[in-house]
Symmetry: C2
């Protein structure tokens, strides 16, 4: 059985005329002889409307009830789309998470998939040509509705593709692929034909919001070929695949940026074992996600530590840091909420030196001060003042010749 | 464990301020030491909006998908109300039909309840003080969502009350009980303190829309005391109970009427065995529900047959009747869509004669022509021209002294 998984987001299913476009994509898959699982999000706006209702009802809505509430959005879109398929003579049915079941843990609001009943799905695919699966939702071992968090439909799609060993997982969205950077910031941004899972992970986590990060992790783990493309055109999008040697010929794949960063700097922290633990332990306990961390070499037994958190967590983080002053009276705490992280990403970095210096040089030429640097095997991130975001992105994009000009070969 | 079941309709849960009224009723039940099952309908308007969506998507929406679609209405109201309960410190959770499970047959759109997992409900009631059950919905043996048809939440409530041997099933609605007749038609209509299941069945099927008829059948079958009352007052409503001897002292309990009737008359039908089968077989096959049927004694080997159908089915019924003309060329077919059935109902009729003649006399005094008569043990129905509806109802209501005057004892 050749299986194709297609996933459509809220914009693609928001009304009947959009769903008729989706129908064409599904027919296209059927014409190619595939059995299909079509994963849908809620219609655009539905999830937000439901969350707004929850907030009207309760300042802190019970997470389990909130999941039961918002999961109705997907139930609406899959039942409507299944009606459309059946009216077009296609053997199809809607499928809720509880009907497979798609089991998750009990972390309501951001549940993680534990298992699919693969056998049941295959049985259903014997009986039906198209299963219209409600994305974003799951069910706990004792039958309560969960949701996988924002963008969770991508994860549902990739996970079901992995479970069924589907040939492809097509993620349809309102953009036509993954770009070298945000085209709204850099007009020469170019669509990538291919990108490795690893690069995509860095792009996604850096704020390139095309694909939810957990779905990329799933795709990487189970080696699912993911094709990110547009519902509203027929042109190929970007294929996410395993890194291959050819990819490394290209030094840099893209420039990502994330404005949702706030910087906290601690000066004169005692440079003794356990100081980091005393700092980051309480932050973690308070669910504050720390992104970049830099610690300078010690001088005179004290050290400087800088780190970034999401802007919304800044106050919470500062309160925790201030709490350290009881035991470290000399500690100097500074913060800056107006910063942005810009990242240069590419698997080619592994085998090429000079990427960092070329990036720093490009920023220097624009007179942009680098506040912090952190690097991984395939990325270099710098923290800059927020006002320099666009300038920094364009400078780096140009410097690595990522734009669509005749001199740049297709990748 | 003392168990109380409360059911609230769409008007009672339509917004937060209404749900706060519902909360007071639930607290009241908890204060009396009950474990509770609260059955909710969808918020007023939600079900209709969802059905309108289905009709936008498909001229004839797939029934199974339509059920999955409209069942979301109840899921929304139970999760919202559960948030409210939890915010008020009440140990509560929402409960979908699939989570019990509440099993039905596969008649999507009008499924019938097959069984409740009573044991599971009792276990949940050990853990929670209030279970907020999504009314109207069920689930088939293989896990597909069904709905019980319009008014199905009443049936859910009575069925769960029966399954759990609840002390009472309180049906909260926007009227404060069952009246001797429609107060909009007859200003002296009086609320009944008690009514027998049987009388209520006749009232409900005659178009008194307080309670869904299947819920009354359930209540009767399992002898569940049902209290019909208003969400928005504290005054007692009407108690549905088993007929007791005292009830028979009262001749007539109420006057019901149903304007949704159209009359078809066949003259010169051959009076041979099987003629009724040839007529009503095809009507039944075409899902036309026939209500009143009268056949006159034969004269010269031909007979007259008159029957009523719902107004919407008139054309369909006429087409079928016309089809009979091929084999019965002399048949004369007439019809009248402007008729109304008015019924006098009361268990007291069993032991009292003269009810029929008193009813006919009341109509005669108002010069209302009776087009058809049919009777049962506890009711007398007459078909009159639709324009006489109000006049006929008031004449009968007065004639049997049902109005609230000092001379009428409370019942």
């Amino acid at each position: 059985m050749r299986i194709l998984v297609q996933k459509f987001g809220g914009t693609s299913v928001r009304n009947l005329s959009c769903q008729k476009e989706v129908l064409l994509k599904v027919k296209n898959g059927l014409d190619q002889g595939y059995k299909m699982v079509v994963v849908l999000s809620a219609r655009a706006g539905d999830t937000n409307n439901l969350l707004a209702l929850a907030r009207e009802w309760s300042a802190e809505p019970d997470p389990a009830e909130c999941d039961a509430l918002v999961a109705t959005g997907e139930q609406v879109s899959v039942s409507l789309f299944s009606m459309l398929l059946k009216d077009n003579g296609i053997k199809a049915r809607s499928l809720l998470a509880a009907q497979i079941p798609l089991l998750t843990d009990e972390e309501f609001g951001k549940a993680r998939i534990r298992s699919f009943d693969r056998k049941r799905l295959l049985e259903l695919l014997e009986e039906y040509d198209v299963l219209v699966l409600a994305g974003f939702q799951g069910v706990t071992g004792n039958g309560r509705v969960t949701t996988l968090g924002r963008g969770g439909s991508d994860t549902s799609a990739v996970a079901v593709a992995a479970a069924l060993s589907a040939e492809f997982c097509e993620i349809y969205t309102d953009v036509d692929g993954v770009y070298t950077t945000d085209p709204r910031v850099c007009s020469t941004a170019r669509k990538l034909d291919r990108i490795s899972y690893e690069e995509m992970l860095e792009m996604a986590s850096m704020g390139a919001k095309v694909l939810e990060i957990r779905s990329v992790e799933f795709a990487q783990k189970y080696n699912v070929p993911v094709h990110v493309r547009s519902t509203f055109t027929d042109t190929p999008g970007t294929m996410l695949i395993k890194e291959d040697p050819k990819m490394e010929d290209v030094l840099v794949s893209g420039i990502a940026f994330d404005r949702d960063q706030a910087l906290i700097t601690l000066r004169k922290a005692p440079d003794v074992p356990g100081v980091s633990a005393r700092l980051f332990g309480p932050l973690s306990a308070a669910a504050v996600v720390v992104d970049m961390i830099v610690q300078s070499p010690s001088l005179d037994g004290v050290t400087d530590i800088a780190f970034t958190v999401a802007k919304k967590d800044l106050q919470k983080a500062l309160t925790i840091v201030e709490g350290m002053r009881a035991s470290v009276p000399d500690l100097i705490v500074a913060h800056n909420p107006k910063v942005c992280k810009v990242s240069v990403i590419g698997v080619g970095m592994r085998n090429h030196s000079g990427v960092a210096s070329r990036a720093f040089d490009a920023l220097y030429r624009e007179n942009i001060n680098i506040m912090m640097i952190s690097t991984s095997e395939i990325k270099i991130s710098v923290l800059v003042e927020e006002k320099y975001t666009e300038l920094a992105v364009r400078a780096l994009h140009d410097s690595f010749e990522l734009g669509h000009t005749d001199t740049i070969g297709d990748r």
